[in-house]
């Protein structure tokens, strides 16, 4: 095309001019005519000066008006030509359609006067732009769409890359990019979605950056518009390839593709892409996938500390706390960003869940406390500090250290509540701490406050209240609480409440009522099977279903209290048939089974087998207190030579759980049998004091 290349090199400030067919012409004269409203005169002087036909002249004039910012004028000029008719002329004849398939592209292209087609397409595009600027969006979309339709008709075999000049390609790109935006603005949402897909799935020979922009705009539209897109049509589906079925899937796919393209160096980095993906994947609770995406991004794109913290959030959101903590340790290193509040809080929170990490958590929480000036974050820092201290106390080696840590824990939590008097989590934690300290009055107060603050919507609150009441032997009140809670729960989540109800019955010496409750539970399990099929091993849906395994275990426990050993065996078999123990579940659930098995042997007079079972359980989880007590009690019965071992085991249990009544009692027995009557008396005294405040399950079981 003559002139179009050289113009780029000329200075931008010069006078505007037209150029065609080897001639050029200043625009000033034509502009004057246009300003007077004489479109025809302007047109004819242009046709004469540059030997153009009518359409060519009009196209140039329209562009001039558009560039001058006179979009209304441009529209008037464009309306003078019949663009559709012009397009018809460029189209290959209909009959040719099939026969041309086989021929080479060059052949079919020769028949189309390239620059004329280009000129007309550009004119329609500018018409669409003019209409857009005038706010006539639907019409604009119509014109813009006709550009694309025309391109598809004229170039049925795709746009040949080599032969077409950049200008045609540019017009096509612009139209592809503009159309969905116009449709969106015009409120034609479904069409916009179809157009985005057409842009991405047809062969427009778009450059990487343009394609990336469209992909991103489409992803954004899918994520936030609220318009649910219909699935892509069957015609684009290729066997074996992933087809998004809804907005989130399609948006996530597009965003992942963009990140991949960046990683391959095809496009430049757009930080918003990662944020959109963060939003989308967090909504799906798929933060571990997000972590992998973050890892894929080239180093140097993010600040590395920001990246560590983001990754830690991802892992922690996916319950991969070990990975999260390792990343936070890096981020909080003295040389990095030791005072990042969010990292400190998250690290402390993670540590508060593990007694062995609690001391580390205390230091994070203390640091968070010193750096934050904002009141509400002081409250959070104090809360996690209290939690960490409480956990730390559980593994402390000396009585003195333990009690001082416990006091400090309570103090922190009490201070925290001054900052956030109605934080439900905090209320529950305080209630549990006080209950474990046998401060029933305070525990009851906080448990009730928790139920109020949560509107009774959290089961833990009801269960804790019932436990506290049971520790005071107020069984019938506890029963009322459980019944109230049952009223507030849907049937599938009633499992833990019903098991507690059965336990209360046992403590009230009503074993037949307890068995009745279990019968109901088993009926519930049956009903659940019918409506859901056998519960799948899908952890995501497990929590609001009745846990059949636990029901059988509870029933086994009930029968073992009644010394019905045959029934214990049946229940245990049922329970074990439901579970394949993995290393992760073995030392919690598996342990309970082993202990029950031991109790069964013991009840049947098989002391050796029982001993082996308990010993196994202790090996599996050295910190499991109920097992230690059973083992201690059994050893006690095995004669004087076993007494020192029994004493060790029971002391160990008391170190872990100093308020365990049974541990004190059996330790007292050991001392008595060994002839240390003074020590024995002290132990019995402790046991009898604790008996008055023993709950039917440990308080921390609600957390």
């Amino acid at each position: 095309m003559p002139g179009s290349q050289s113009s780029d090199h000329e200075e931008e400030t010069g006078e505007r001019e037209f150029r065609a067919n080897g001639n050029s012409m200043k625009t000033a004269e034509v502009e004057a005519k246009l300003d007077e409203g004489n479109i025809q005169e302007a047109e004819s002087s242009l046709r004469e000066g540059l030997s153009l036909n009518f359409e060519e002249a009009r196209a140039l004039l329209g562009r001039l008006e558009y560039q001058r910012g006179n979009v209304e004028g441009a529209l008037r000029v464009f309306e003078g030509i019949d663009l559709q008719a012009a397009i018809q002329r460029f189209q290959p004849p209909l009959g040719d359609k099939t026969s041309k398939r086989g021929r080479s592209r060059t052949e079919s292209m020769h028949s189309v006067p390239q620059h004329s087609a280009n000129l007309v397409l550009e004119a329609i595009y500018l018409k669409a732009k003019s209409l857009q600027k005038l706010g006539r969006l639907t019409e604009a979309a119509g014109e813009c769409k006709s550009v694309l339709d025309a391109v598809e008709k004229i170039f049925q075999n795709g746009i040949p890359d080599l032969q077409v000049d950049g200008r045609l390609q540019e017009t096509v790109r612009q139209a592809v990019e503009l159309l969905p935006e116009l449709l969106k603005q015009a409120g034609s949402h479904d069409e916009a979605i179809a157009t985005y897909r057409r842009a991405l799935l047809s062969q427009w020979s778009l450059d990487n950056d343009c394609c990336a922009r469209i992909q991103k705009n489409f992803a954004v539209f899918l994520l936030y518009s609220g318009v649910e897109a219909a699935a892509p049509s069957l015609s684009v589906q290729i066997d074996g390839s992933y087809i998004p079925r809804n907005n989130l899937e399609e948006a996530i796919l597009l965003l992942m593709i963009l990140i991949r393209k960046y990683a391959l160096g095809k496009i430049k980095w757009d930080p918003s892409v990662m944020e959109h993906l963060t939003f989308a994947l967090s909504l799906c609770s798929q933060t571990s996938v997000l972590a992998r995406q973050l890892e894929e991004v080239m180093p140097g794109t993010f600040n590395r500390i920001d990246r560590w913290i983001a990754l830690a959030l991802c892992h922690s959101g996916a319950l991969e706390n070990k990975e999260a903590l390792n990343l936070l340790r890096k981020a909080l290193h003295d040389n990095e960003r030791p005072n990042d509040l969010m990292a400190l809080l998250l690290a402390a929170k993670i540590c508060s869940e593990d007694p062995l990490l609690a001391a580390e958590g205390v230091s994070y929480a203390r640091r968070a406390l010193t750096i934050t000036s904002e009141e509400h974050f002081k409250g959070v820092a104090l809360r996690v500090l209290g939690l960490c201290l409480g956990k730390q106390a559980k593994v402390s080696s000396s009585d003195y250290e333990r009690s001082s840590l416990q006091l400090e824990a309570l103090k922190s939590l009490e201070e925290a509540i001054n900052f956030e008097f109605n934080n439900p989590d905090l209320l529950l934690e305080l209630a549990v701490q006080y209950a474990e300290h046998r401060n029933v009055h305070a525990a009851l107060r906080y448990a009730k406050q928790f139920i109020d603050a949560t509107g009774g919507s959290i089961l833990k609150g009801w269960r804790l209240l019932a436990l506290i009441l049971s520790s005071q032997k107020r069984y019938s009140e506890a029963q009322v609480v459980i019944d109230a809670a049952l009223d507030e729960t849907a049937k599938w989540e009633q499992g833990p409440l019903l098991r507690m109800k059965a336990k209360l019955k046992i403590f009230q010496s009503l074993p037949m009522d307890a068995i009745e409750t279990y019968r109901y539970l088993l009926a519930l399990v049956q009903a659940q099977r019918k409506s859901f099929g056998p519960v799948k091993a899908n952890h995501q849906v497990d929590d609001d279903k009745v846990n059949e395994f636990e029901v059988w275990l509870g029933l086994a426990n009930l029968y073992s209290n009644l010394s019905h050993w045959k029934d214990v065996e049946v229940c245990l078999e049922k329970a074990l048939s439901l579970r394949q123990f993995s290393a992760a579940t073995l030392h919690t659930e598996g342990n309970i089974c082993i202990i029950l098995l031991g109790a069964m042997y013991e009840g049947q007079g098989l002391a050796k087998e029982a001993l082996a079972a308990y010993a196994n359980a202790v090996l599996l989880d050295p910190n499991y207190v109920p097992c230690k007590i059973l083992l201690g009690a059994l050893l006690l019965k095995m004669g004087p030579q076993a007494l020192p071992v029994a004493r060790n085991v029971l002391s160990d249990a008391l170190r872990l759980e100093p308020t365990n009544r049974n541990a004190w009692y059996y330790l007292g027995m050991v001392h008595r049998d060994d002839g240390r009557n003074g020590d024995a008396a002290e132990c019995f005294q402790a046991a009898s004091m604790l008996e008055e405040s023993e709950p039917i399950e440990s308080f921390s079981s609600v957390l």
Binding site: L119, Y224, G226, I257
Partner: protein, 366 residues
């Protein structure tokens, strides 16, 4: 906590089209889905509704409103259902009535009207009920934990349950899931470089919203779920919803999050005051809230909806602080990304390139 007597919708249960099925009594027979509701998942535009139904609804509504509606004439060009959804005059009267302290009671006429209107099974009329879901959810969740002035809520509960029952039927025991793409599998938008194609075995399936159990009453442990589902329904039609409806949502989300103070404003007088209206935000409630919030912040035309954008931004900031407060990683990530996106959008406004604009050149040629 709501006492049993309070949590049972009293008035609507007497209605002949009641969806209330008690699902508690027998564990062996799960309650059947409410029989009277037909699932209509596709919604035609508000204009295609049956004119007589809509007209009847409009007439029964006007008898409840304190001031007569001026733009009401049976033959006026906007169809009644469309008028109901868009008329600011009607909407503001309904909103005012809903905000009154006793509005949520079981015998409240407006609640009854909303309940009946949703049960008309006319999609365009159901939109009108959805339009008030943010306000109803907001008032309901805020009031239900305020013990010092306990207010009757059975009317609100009946409406929320009607929506929940509708969605329970529509989902037909299926959860809403997302299959997270994995780029090592080819997709419609890309080809995969790796040859191995073990189909869908290692794809992550995320449950966005679990399958629904029928509930005849609002039990407190299911409250967040029921409201969450109502908000999911609202989100599914959010693109037709009028601005005020979204404004209501943002107002309550900010309250629910609990930090109404401006971040940089250090007024330390009453640290307790900002806790008023703060509620628990379990994921089943937070998930739909985040999607709606995303729409309010990034789904519309920020220039036309300045007020919404401002309110949504405030709500988002509150939610972000709340997430940090609860040390809730998923919520920190989601709310944090929205805040960053809004900031990026503002910054990019300055030097934004319009790639659809032609390059202005001195030489105009063919």
């Amino acid at each position: 906590m709501s006492t049993p007597s309070n949590s049972h919708p009293s008035s609507p249960t007497t209605s002949p089209t009641s969806p209330c099925v008690d699902s508690t009594s027998s564990p062996t027979t799960p309650a059947p889905p409410p029989p009277t509701i037909t699932a209509t998942t596709t919604t035609e535009a508000a204009t295609t509704s049956s004119p007589t139904k809509a007209q009847a609804a409009l007439e029964s509504l006007t008898s409840l409103l304190p001031t007569p509606v001026s733009s009401l004439s049976p033959t006026s060009p906007p169809p009644p259902a469309f008028l109901l959804l868009t008329s600011p005059e009607i909407s503001s009267q309904i909103s005012t009535l809903l905000r009154q302290p006793s509005s949520g009671s079981g015998d409240n006429h407006l609640c009854r009207w909303l309940y009946d209107t949703f049960h008309s099974s006319d999609p365009s009329l159901q939109l009108i009920v959805l339009r008030f879901i943010p306000l109803i959810s907001g008032l309901y969740l805020t009031r239900v934990t305020q013990h010092h002035h306990r207010q009757p809520l059975a009317g609100f509960e009946a409406i929320l349950l009607a929506l929940y029952a509708h969605e329970t039927t529509a989902r037909n025991n299926q959860p809403i899931t997302v299959t997270v793409p994995d780029l090592s599998h080819p997709s419609i938008y890309h080809e995969s470089s790796s040859p191995q194609r073990n189909n869908s075995t290692d794809l992550n399936i995320a449950v966005i919203s679990h399958s629904l159990e029928p509930h005849g009453t609002v039990r407190s442990t299911r409250r967040a779920r029921i409201v969450g589902v109502a908000l999911e329904l609202f989100f599914s039609k959010i693109w037709i919803m009028p601005l005020e409806s979204k404004l209501d949502f943002c107002e309550f989300l900010e309250q629910w999050s609990g930090h109404q103070k401006d971040g940089d404003n250090n007024d330390e007088d009453k640290s307790g005051d900002d806790e008023e209206g703060k509620i628990l935000l379990p994921w089943e409630l937070l998930g739909p809230c985040l999607r709606i919030l995303g729409h309010c912040l990034l789904g519309g035309d920020t220039e036309k909806e300045v007020l919404l954008h401002e309110k949504a931004f405030r709500a988002c900031k509150s939610l972000y602080y709340r997430a940090m407060h609860d040390v809730n990683p998923k919520a920190i990530l989601a709310a944090g990304s929205l805040l960053k996106l809004v900031k990026m959008e503002k910054d990019s406004k300055v030097d934004e390139v319009d790639y659809t604009e032609i390059r202005s050149s001195r030489v105009i040629s063919i």
